[in-house]
């Protein structure tokens, strides 16, 4: 079950839905809004989702995890809208017979959600600026990895308007 939520996430209820008498392990991941990123003080975040596609892609990721790791349950809920420091932005929970699969699957789901589900995050900083955050893999690799079906190689025209993907002042 992959959900988007404009409201606070009730994790207790979500965890109960993972219960299964054959489950010996439950691993959860919570992404919390942190007060800093890349050296800047963060005041709050905004999440924006392309809901139709986000729900489909999120459901595909959970189906992959259930199949790949033989899970007994898997859920992910992602917030949308404005979030304050310390708020829960994303919750992933899985149950499985043993902890090996539970840890691996939980990690798989959050990694895939972060890089595949069309959700965008805008950080608002203490210095008054704000910016849309790039995906971690882009930041780490100077963007030599493919974003799925990218346009590199197709595009022959120069794109003079390219700049760092950040909101203009």
């Amino acid at each position: 079950m992959f959900l988007l939520s404009a409201e606070r996430i009730d994790t207790a209820q979500l965890k109960r839905a993972l219960e299964n008498p054959g489950a010996g392990a439950c691993v959860t991941f919570e992404g919390w809004v942190r007060n800093n990123n890349e050296g800047k003080t963060v005041l709050r975040l905004e999440y924006e989702a392309y809901e139709d596609l986000a729900l489909k892609e999120g459901a595909r990721i959970l189906a992959e995890a259930l199949d790949k790791f033989g899970l007994l349950g898997a859920t992910c809920v992602h917030r949308t809208g404005c979030l304050e420091i310390g708020e829960l932005a994303v919750w992933v929970g899985v149950s499985a017979a043993h902890r090996d699969e539970a840890f691996a699957a939980c990690r798989y789901i959050i990694d895939e959600v972060k890089s595949r589900v069309p959700i965008w995050k805008k950080e608002h900083y203490a210095d008054g600026e704000s910016g849309w955050v790039n995906c971690e893999r882009c930041a780490a690799h100077g963007h030599d990895h493919a974003h799925g079906a990218g346009a590199a190689g197709i595009l022959s025209r120069d794109d003079a308007s390219y700049s760092r993907q950040t909101a203009l002042p």
Partner: protein, 84 residues
């Protein structure tokens, strides 16, 4: 409506929404592929993102830049995602 043209719906998110100033629009275009459409719209909005940094969705599925567009399609250009 011009000959050979088609009417499509375009949605904008995040940085592209801010740069175009709109969340969605209905566009009449001569563009044949998704990439042609992007180039056309980029002339109007000067998006601060190269298409090779973007993905594209056609009718709420990830698709390719050289896919043909049809009358009534919904197209979304997707900036790099950053959930979590």
């Amino acid at each position: 409506m011009k000959e050979h043209g088609r009417t499509v719906h375009v949605h904008y998110y995040a940085l592209l929404r801010e740069q175009s100033g709109i969340s969605d629009e209905t566009v009449h275009t001569e563009a044949e592929t998704v990439l042609d459409l992007f180039v056309e719209l980029n002339e109007r909005y000067h998006f601060a993102a190269r298409p090779e940094r973007l993905k594209v969705a056609l009718n709420a599925e990830f698709r390719n830049w050289d896919d043909k567009i049809s009358h009534g399609d919904t197209i979304v250009f997707l900036p790099p995602v950053a959930g979590g």
